[in-house]
Structure formats: C-alpha cells, structure tokens
Amino acid sequence: MDDNRVPLLEVINLKKHFDKSTGLFSKKKKILTAVDGINFHIYKGETFGLVGESGCGKSTTGRTIVKLYEPTDGQILFDGVDLATISAKNMFPYRRKIQMIFQDPYASLNGRMTVTDIIAEGIDTHNIFAGHENPKQAKQEKIYELLESVGLKREHASRYPHEFSGGQRQRIGIARALAVDPDLIICDEPISALDVSIQAQVVNMLQDFQKEKGLTYLFIAHDLSMVKHISDRIGVMYLGHMMEVSSSDDLYATPLHPYTKALLSSIPVPDPDSDIKGSRIVLQGDVRSPINPKPGCRFASRCRYAFTEVTSSDGSFNDSLVGKFAFEKIVDPNSGDLIILQGIEITALVAEKLTNAKFESVKITRERCFNETPELVEIKEEHYAACHFIKEINNLK
C-alpha cells in the first residue's frame, strides 16, 4: 500500500452525548454516551468499514460526521477543515462534498415527491447548474444520466417512490447522494434492509462508482462478510468506543482485540463439517447501558480476559478475595442459593460462603479493565487496538 496516502477525513476524539434527563426536577443528569471519544481516519479513495453490534454508535458516528448531530467534543477534519466547530453557514459548501446513503429504502424517500424532485433537491439547493446556459435542461439530463447509471430508466423519473421495490428505492437514494458530486459518502447500513441478491448488486454498484469517480466511503454495517468484501480498512466499535482499527485483511486474519475475536467468530461458515462451533466465542451477559457509563474498558464485563482466577490452593479465600469484585454470578452448586451477583464486591461473609461451598477457584475482575479506559494504540503497523492486555492475550512480545 501507498505510504503517502492523504487522509480525506480525520476523526479525532469525537464525542456525541445525548441528554436523556427526563422531567424538570430530576436531580441526576442522564447522559447517553453514544460516541465517546473515537479516533480514526479515512484515506482518499478508500472504503472504511465501521462494524459493531446494534446500539454501539456506528450510525451516530456517521450522522455526527455529516453534522446531523452537533458533536459534543472532538474534531472532524475534512480536507483539513474542522467541521465540528464550523458554523451552519460555512458548513453549507461541505454538504455537497459529504453525502449519505440511508439504511431504510422505504423511509429515506419522501413519498410525496417524484423521483425527479427527490434527486433534484440537492441540485436545486446547491444551484449546481447556475452558470449553465439552460439549467433546467441540464438538470433533467443529469437526472436521467444518474437514473441510468444506477440501473433505472428515464421513464421512472416521474414516478413516486411507492411504485418501486426496495432495491430500486435504494438505487434512487444512491442517485440522490451522487447528484451533488460528493467526495465522501457515508453509507449507513445501505444494504441491511435488502434481499441478499439485491445486496450484492448494490454493493457492486457502489464499488463501480468508487472506481469511476474516486469516491471515498464510510461503510457502516453489521454484516461482517459484506464489510470484509467492500472495505479497505475496518474499525470495530463497541458501546461508543473504537476497539480496533486495522486493514481489512489484517483484521480478518489476525484479530487482536477480544471483542473483535468474538465478533469474527460469529461469522457463519457455509460448511457443515467445519469445526467452527468449537472455536465460536459466545459472549456472556448483555451490553452495558451507555447511560452514565463507569470508567474502564466498555467491553470488560463481557470480556473473557478481564478476570483472573483465584484458586483455593493459594490459601483461604478470605485473604485473597475480600475487597475484590466478582466477575460473574456465583451460585452455590449444592443448595442452588445465590451467593453473589456479577460485579459486586466480595465481603468476608461471601468469602466464607465460597469456602463453605468448597469452590476450587473463583473469577475476580482485573481492576485495570474496570477502572482505566484503554487508549487506542498502534500494536502493529496500521493496526490499532484498545485493550490493556492486548499483548498478553495475543502472545505478542
């Protein structure tokens, strides 16, 4: 790969918090940290995939970059200009350069407008053909050209969105994004609502446009195999934090972060004899609430590396366990009584119970994982991960 590639978009410590406080008199503020300080950059002409499970802040990131949301903190450097602090008026020219393709082809087109009106909206707003001798005709020609390039017909121009199938609608959405000749397109799960056969068509079309027009994509998705197919580089998000950023090939070949490992192991393999079932990492527990999160690694509560085991052979539980936190819910195997819940501090009484229940080992949390937020650091060349024990886990030097 080129060493002197220029980043088109640089996202530095981007934060987007939503105030979810309800009522006038609630004392405690509820802050939903949808995106909490993420860093990544996208080079010109490449596709950057952003993956993660539902609610991890992928879409919020995309929408914050196009300033649909005002960022709470951080910088969005587009061509060297910080869009995060720019005024709405100065943002206007950049609206033409950054476009977005939306997830739901049924919701993303205004049902009261014809296809022509939908596509022409950007052209009209930015007065693209202002200097043209016949702007009306030029606009109409451009619309026909766009429709044909996305695989629709001229006669579709006067129709309404409800007369099209999902795939055709998504093509109209793409034509709308392309109408203003953007540099960067944020594809917010553009294929997840489509049939598998249509998905491939749309993705291939997007790739064709990229080659043809030199577009840069931020491709948000949760379909890992599709992301692998389309992306040059991939960022993995979990609960508003960036867990790992790497080139696509590197990420899929050698995932470093425990979350990425779990995520990739969930990709189904179309081979019934595969031993994938044995190597699949099933995550325990639920995603933590993003409202007023505690410090520490966001993934720690579900991470299978975020604990150490204390065995009874080390001595009595009392000495080694009291004051530590239980990593998981512990139930007395004999009586079935609950001894301690996940994440609760172990008291002397609990330790005694554990001893009485004749536990041989107890999992306690690694304090660093729960107290200190890991930074995204470069582990290998162009491969970043945010985990305190990344080297330990991957047996790196």
Partner: protein, 552 residues
C-alpha cells in the same frame, strides 16, 4: 426437451417486466380509496347538499331572513283547516288570526278582523273572495247589428261590454258601463246606462264605477269597479285603447286579459264554547270549541289537514319563514365554521411545525403557551371578546364610499375571531406531534445532509407528509366549530338578531318548544345532519389517507 430448444439471449436485452399500472399520485390513491367507502361517500353527499343548500337555497325562496309578518306568526308546516265553503280553507292560529289557504296549501289571504266582541267571545272577520275570469283571446261578442253606441264609448268584443268615460262631480274620470252584450260572460239581464242590476256568479251588483287615472298612461288600462253597497271590487286589465273605427266607435278587440272580482263577506269566529265543560255545552256541540260561521253555514270541526306550501317549514314567532331562515342560518354557520377552521389551519400549522421542528426549549415554551390558551374556558373568552369588541367599528373609505369592514357589534366577526383564536391549539398539537415524528425520518435527514433550509424542509417534506391527519382533523373541526357556534348562539352570545344561525334559531324556538316544536326541530336537524355528514366524511378520509389506521 433437448438443448436445441433453448437459445442464448443477449445479456443486455431488456427482460425487465414493466409494470403497466397507471402511476397514481398519493391524492389519486386517496380518492380511489375514499370512493370505495360508502359511509364516507354518503357523508360527502350530505356535506355537498348542505353546502349547495346554503349557497343556492336562499335564491329560490320568496322571503328574506328578516321578512316578518306578525299576523302569520307560528304557522305550522302541517295545517289544520276548516273548509267553510267549497275549496275555501280557513286556518285558525293560536292568536285567533284566520288565514285562508287554497286547496294546494298556499296562503291566499289573511282575514282582517273587523269587530271584536270580547264579551261574547265572538270575532268578526272580513272575508274578501276573489273571482278571476281568465279570458280566451278573441272571445266573440261582436257588437250586435242594430246596437249603436255613443262615439265616446269603448267596446270590448271579448267581454261584450261598452264603457264610456265621464267626468264625475269630483273631477275624476269615471268609466261607466254603457252597454253590455246580452251574452257577456259576467252580465246578463237588464241594464240601463250606468246602472246594472244583475248577478255575477251569485253576486248582486248594483253599480260599476270605473275610475281611470288618465294622467298616468301606464295605469290607464286598470279599472277598478267599486260598488258601495255590497263590497265588490273588480279589476280589469286591458291592453291598448284602439282608435275609433269607421263608425266612430272605439272597440277593444280581444286584448282584455282578465278580470278579477273581489267580494267581501263577513266570517264569524265564535269561541264561546271553548273552555266549557262538555255538560254545559248545548246539545250537538259537546265536542265543539270553535264555531266558524260563513254565509250562515256553521263549521265546527277541523275538516282537513294538509302541508303548508307557502311556508313549508312553518313560520317562527315573528312570522318569518323557518325554511328561509334555516338556509341563511346554514350560510352563517358554515361560514363561521369554515373561516374559523381556515384560520386554525394556518395558525395551527405554522405554530405546530415551528414548535415540533425546533424542539427542545422552543417546543417546551410554545406548548406551554398552548396549554395556557387551552385552559381559558371558551364561553368566558367569547363573552370577554364580545364586550371588548362591541365598541370597535372600523370603516374604510373605498372608492369614495365609507364601508364598514369590521363591526364588533354584530356577533358574526366576534365569533369568528373567538373560534379562530382558540381552536388552533388542537391543530398546533397535532402538527407538532406529526412533525416531531416525521423530522426523524430518513428522508428529512437526507434533506438536511444535502443542506436544504429549515423552511423548505418544513413545507416540502414535513407538512405534505403530515397533511393526511391535518385534513382529517380539519374535517372533524368543521362540525365541532358548527356546534360551538350553535352552542354560543344558543346561549345568546353568538350572532345577533336578525341574523340567523342555527344556534340562534334553536334559541328562538325554545320559547315555544311544546306548542311549536317544529321551529326547534328543523335547525336542530340541520345541525345534526351537518355534523353527521362531516363526521362520516372525516372518518372515511382518515381511513383513506392512512389505511393502516382503519378500524376493524
């Protein structure tokens, strides 16, 4: 099947199946769905009829909403009549006014009270009977041979009558019958110059005096014949006076169009038996309360009941036609409702969309204002407005004429202002809710990504998509405004007399609710049908605009 049966098609060939269906816009689709809904079409029919009734109805009546005839007050739509003579029907009102109807049910005349004998409870009425002789043109009563007339005489071949102009003692021109043809349709028997003693349709006629106002050429063809002794009037409508013929006689030929003869008689209404116990009444009169005597013939029973044709819905307490007033009432009620709804529509949409679109504290403050406005009782508000606006009269000089463009004293404008300034809160809330949900739609986000201005997003994306519920709400708001207007007018703070709104009509009818129920029934029915129609239409529209909301 072998491989030969198949052939390769070119990759580029168009295998797409084109849909042949006509491209329908959203509103065409709505209309199609609405047409399927029978209830809604019924509602639409009702609404259309009422609107037509309000617009064109008043053009077809002979009355104005403020025309009043006190003697014809409280006439019911169904008449109970006494047939005092063949085809002479007399209706007695509660106030002892006697009204003559013809057999079709039209008002012919109002009988004038001549004498009132309060002590014996006997009223005397003058009954003027009208005879009309329509003439066949060219009626053949030529002047018989041997009859010579003065050169001054006019002779009508149609009537077989000769008239001469004489100058009376008082200087007026009088026309005197000079000669009557023996076969003349209204005269037979002996006659002498100026004096005729004969019978016309059973009337004894002593003398005809034709008074002719020669100074007025337009009236010259009207002749009134007056007989002093027996009340008799006669009107001759003649056309032109022809020049003298060769014999020096001026002859009117076939142009006398008709003759009306009125005769006056006395009709006696005796209600002395009213209120008496049946045992006290004379024999044969046990069930009788009223006795009407005409030409010696007593009528004691109501002989017939038929529909009032002159006043199909009767008259009110001032003798105004209820039908006409309900029509004018429809105008006022619908106009108030329509204007109030339009005002609400404009204010509500603007306010609601701003509040919903900008959200946050803007929304919070704007909605609290709505809450405050909503908490003012409407009745109190209207009364206050009435008091304040009563003093206000704005007149503007337009084309040199002073025109009153606002008059606070008439309740019409006040009620529109009151409804318009209070009702929009519901619409504002609705639009706000719609906008709040719609602004998160991806097509709005797409527009914002492109950089479309807020104003354009509101009126190109948000309002068109919220229009369905807005229209439904407007259709529902019209009957509600009609009802509120009716209610305010009913309690006396709406439009003021003599203007008629349905509420005013109902209010006026309330005084006679037991005896003259029809006065309340018709306006109430109008209100009910209007509300029903609009509600049916609104329900249908809601289903048509948003099929997902369809009930059941």
């Amino acid at each position: 099947m072998s491989k030969k049966d198949f052939r390769f098609v070119k990759k580029e060939s168009n295998l797409d199946l084109e849909q042949a269906r006509v491209s329908l816009t959203y509103w065409q689709d709505v209309w199609r769905r609405l047409k399927k809904n029978k209830m809604a079409m019924f509602g639409l029919l009702i609404v259309a009829s009422i609107v037509l009734f309000a617009i064109f109805g008043p053009l077809f009546t002979d009355f104005d909403y403020k025309d009043q005839e006190l003697l014809l007050r409280n006439l019911p739509p169904k008449l109970e009549v006494y047939e005092v003579e063949d085809n002479v029907f007399i209706h007695r009102t509660e106030a002892y006014n006697l009204i003559e109807f013809n057999e079709e049910g039209y008002v012919v005349d109002l009988l004038e009270q001549v004498t009132i004998d309060e002590a014996n409870k006997i009223y005397y009425y003058s009954y003027i009977k009208e005879f009309e002789y329509l003439l066949v043109e060219g009626g053949a009563f030529p002047l018989p041979a041997g009859v010579t007339l003065d050169a001054e005489a006019f002779y009508s071949e149609v009537w077989g009558i000769a008239l001469i102009n004489v100058l009376a003692d008082d200087g007026d021109n009088q026309v005197i019958i000079h000669y009557v043809h023996p076969n003349s349709p209204f005269l037979s028997g002996n006659q002498t110059n100026g004096t005729v003693a004969d019978t016309i349709e059973g009337l004894v006629v002593d003398q005809f005096v034709f008074t002719d106002d020669i100074s007025n050429p337009d009236l010259a063809d009207n002749y009134t014949i007056k007989s002093d002794r027996t009340a008799l009037f006669m009107i001759l409508d003649m056309e032109k006076t022809l020049p003298p013929n060769t014999e020096g006689i001026r002859v009117l030929k076939g142009k006398l169009s008709h003759i009306k003869i009125f005769s006056e008689d006395i009709l006696i209404l005796d209600f002395g038996l009213r209120g008496l116990d049946s045992s006290e009444k004379p024999e044969g009169y046990e069930d009788v309360e009223y006795i009407i005597t005409y030409k010696g013939k007593e009528t004691t029973k109501i002989t017939d009941t038929f529909s009032n044709k002159t006043y199909p819905w009767g008259t009110d307490f001032l003798g105004r036609d209820v039908l006409t007033r309900v029509m004018y009432g429809a105008r006022i009620s619908l106009l108030v409702a329509l204007i109030a709804t339009l005002v609400n529509f404009l204010i509500g949409i603007t306010y609601g969309s701003i509040s919903g679109f900008f959200g946050g504290s803007v929304d919070n403050i704007m909605m609290r204002i709505v809450d405050i406005i909503n908490s003012i009782p409407l009745v109190l508000y209207v009364i206050l407005l009435m008091v304040v606006l009563r003093e206000f009269v704005i007149d503007v000089e337009i084309f040199g004429k002073n025109r009153v463009i606002f008059n606070g004293a008439d309740g019409f404008t006040t009620i529109i202002i009151a409804l318009g300034s209070v009702y929009w809160t519901g619409m504002a809330r609705l639009v706000r809710g719609q906008v709040l949900s719609l602004k998160e739609q991806e097509y709005v986000l797409a527009a914002r990504t492109i950089g479309v201005s807020n104003r354009k997003i509101i009126y190109r994306h948000l309002i068109p998509n919220a229009l369905g519920p807005i229209i439904v709400s407007m259709t529902m708001m019209i009957p509600s405004a009609v009802f509120t207007e009716a209610f305010l007018s009913f309690i006396g703070i709406g439009v003021s007399a003599p203007q008629a709104s349905w509420g005013t009509l109902a209010n006026e009818a309330l005084g006679g609710i037991t005896r003259y129920t029809y006065q309340l029934v018709y306006p109430s029915l109008a209100i009910a049908i209007t509300m029903l129609g609009f509600n049916f239409l609104g329900d249908g529209l809601r289903d048509a605009l948003d099929p997902r909301l369809r009930k059941g």
